[in-house]
């Protein structure tokens, strides 16, 4: 939804260059109190995660009898929480981990492909009603997904024209199609809009000269546009990845216990075993590890994507 100049992303990761003028302004603000305030905020923001992270490695008896900060005076570590949460018969998070992967990959790849194609057509092809259609898609970003859930669920269960129901016991693909489709649909308006913005910044002469050389739209799209769009596609891809991986609403509305991702299972555990912190702490970090890796390794793209657009459906 939000769109600011994507170039801002470059500023984000810039190393401090030659002594900037505004440093003096900054220095004026930087009293010892300011530094202390910054450290306090940083510590407050880190402690909750750190606490649960440490807890996930403590033996169950320690967790229930003393605070996690006691680990510094009385260290004892174990991996058994992770072992139990991943393989234990009552939690089996490995199954849900697999579900999360199976849901997420197509739910990222498919909408981005469809949106890139559509964005290309909206920028570089001429057809009647083009602008009207684009504005309509742009406007549909305001629809919160809650408004669509119930009718969409009914469409999946009782599709018109005797089409195959995508939900229910005999659902094709193990019931994953409803999730893939829903995530695709909800991603499209924002994806088309953002990619359209990026694509219209590409100089038109590039396309024109390729046309003159006899290249068709398909060649231009695959040979010129895709490579040029790679950073934008990566940026949106990471956002979409995190949305889908971290999603709960779509998963519990359209999924079933056999297709639940980690978030849905974890929310369940939080309700039924709310005081078993040895399970919840390890479980939480099992669900966090992939987004954290993605975040830490691709932070540059992530920030760029965030600066370009952050709210959807």
């Amino acid at each position: 939804m939000t769109t600011t100049n994507p170039d801002l992303g470059a500023l984000e990761t810039d190393a401090p260059g030659p002594e900037p003028v505004s440093t003096s302004a900054h220095r004026a603000l930087t009293s010892p109190w300011a530094s202390i305030a910054a450290v306090v905020i940083a510590v407050l923001w880190t402690i909750p995660t750190l606490g649960l992270f440490i807890t996930s490695f403590r033996p169950e008896s320690d967790i229930t009898s003393s605070g996690w900060w006691k680990i510094f005076t009385n260290p004892s570590f174990t991996m058994s929480n992770y072992d139990q949460v991943l393989h234990g018969s009552d939690t089996k998070l490995t199954t849900y981990f697999v579900n999360s992967i199976v849901i997420t990959l197509p739910a990222v790849i498919i909408p981005i492909s469809i949106a890139t194609l559509a964005a290309y057509a909206f920028v570089w092809m001429k057809f009647p009603g083009r602008d009207l259609l684009f504005v309509a898609i742009f406007a549909l970003q305001i629809v919160p997904i809650q408004v669509t859930l119930i009718p969409l669920l009914k469409l999946y269960v009782h599709p018109p024209l005797n089409l195959m129901p995508l939900a229910g016991p005999d659902a094709p693909g193990g019931g994953f199609y409803t999730l893939w489709l829903s995530h695709t649909i909800f991603a499209l308006p924002l994806a088309i809009y953002l990619l359209h913005n990026f694509m219209s910044q590409i100089p038109g002469e590039l396309i024109e000269s390729a046309r003159v050389d006899g290249a068709g739209h398909v060649q231009i799209f695959t040979r010129i546009m895709l490579p040029l769009m790679a950073p934008a596609i990566a940026a949106f891809g990471i956002l979409q990845f995190l949305w889908v991986w971290n999603d709960l609403l779509v998963a519990i509305t359209f999924g079933s216990p056999t297709t639940f991702p980690l978030t849905a299972r974890l929310a369940e555990l939080s309700g039924t075993r709310g005081n078993d912190w040895f399970l919840l702490s390890a479980g939480a970090f099992v669900s966090l590890v992939i987004p954290l890796i993605v975040f830490l390794s691709l932070q540059r793209y992530f920030v760029r994507g965030l600066l370009a657009g952050s709210v959807k459906g």
Binding site: H26, T30, F127, Q146, L249, L266, S270, A284
Partner: protein, 320 residues
């Protein structure tokens, strides 16, 4: 279904998708006539348009229509469901909580994000300091809720505490507190969770626009003898005003739609429900389709003006 079968299904889905796209592209590639151009445009655009039409437009219109019907969707009740939202005591509580969320989360997150962005701007540890605050953005709201439920863990004052918040209270010689149970403050403690997540977003956007303030403006202010605080008030804040508005509105929209925190921490009990969660409860627990769709439409109506304002501000930001 076994793990292997799931992955096979996944690869089938992706392969089928790409096969269909490839066939469409190849089929329309050779066409160079005017109709060919049209066919090509259709091949590029129609998949998206169809999905959006069937998956967004049709359901949204149906929801608005259904919100005028009763529980089962058979009897027409006019605006009764909307009347329920604004008169029923349970629903009024939901509205009160939602208002608290939508006012506090955007304002507090933006304020903390702005202060932090200014404090760490061009400091030696800027990158690291940003990553710390930003990290919660990568975590699911379910994960964040569990992290904070542990912070808020309650035990009798006589026992050893395992939740940080109550350990601090006990350390200060105070009674331990049931953070998630005691109405109305429990809503406030749930709000903190979303603030914790959203500050990273506010900081990132604001930090980028602080860096975009021209150096000569600051230099001029300095020559005029402006103190750090004056510069902040008269240069920094006015310069990044459009970004501030975009951040506040964007977080408002996110807040209105967030239901995961309430569901994971309290399940909407102890008077903590919000609109986005109540929608879910009314449909999936109370089987009241009319009321559920009415709540969804209300979220829609609340989000709409904010989105429109947000987009207009963004346009201004881009135009600069």
């Amino acid at each position: 279904m076994s793990t292997g079968e799931k992955f096979i299904q996944m690869f089938i889905a992706i392969a089928v998708f790409f096969a269909v796209v490839a066939v469409i592209l190849l089929a329309t590639q050779r066409m160079r006539s005017r109709t060919g151009e049209l066919a090509q445009a259709a091949a590029f655009v129609l998949p998206a348009v169809l999905l959006i039409g069937v998956g967004l437009l049709y359901p949204a219109a149906t929801s608005i229509y259904q919100s005028l019907f009763d529980k089962t969707g058979d009897g027409f009740v006019g605006l009764d469901n909307y009347q329920t939202i604004f008169t029923d005591s349970e629903q009024l509580l939901v509205l009160r909580n939602t208002a608290a969320w939508v006012i506090l989360v955007p304002i507090v997150s933006t304020a903390i994000g702005l202060i932090y962005a200014v404090l760490i701007d061009r400091s030696r540890f800027e990158k690291f300091a940003k990553a710390l605050i930003f990290l919660p953005m990568a975590i699911s709201l379910v994960g964040a809720s569990i992290i904070w439920k542990f912070v808020y863990d309650y035990r009798d004052p006589t026992q050893d505490q395992i939740g940080v918040a109550n350990a601090v209270l006990k350390g200060l010689g105070l009674d331990t507190y049931k953070f998630l149970l005691n109405d109305p403050w429990n809503t406030f403690f749930l709000i903190i969770i979303l603030i914790w997540v959203q500050v990273g977003f506010a900081m990132t956007i604001l930090s980028a626009s602080i860096k975009a303030i021209p150096d000569d403006m600051i230099e001029a202010a300095k020559l005029d003898g402006a103190t750090g605080m004056q510069q902040f008030r008269h240069i920094t804040v006015p310069s990044i005003r459009p970004s501030l508005i975009v951040v506040v509105t964007t977080i408002s929209i996110t807040t209105l739609k967030a239901f995961d925190i309430v569901r994971t921490t309290t399940g909407g009990n102890f008077d903590t429900s919000v609109l986005a969660y109540q929608f879910y409860v009314e449909y999936f627990r109370s089987y009241n389709q009319g009321l559920a769709t009415a709540i969804a439409v209300l979220i829609f109506l609340l989000v709409m003006p904010i989105v429109i304002y947000n987009v207009r501000q963004m346009r201004k930001l881009e135009a600069r």
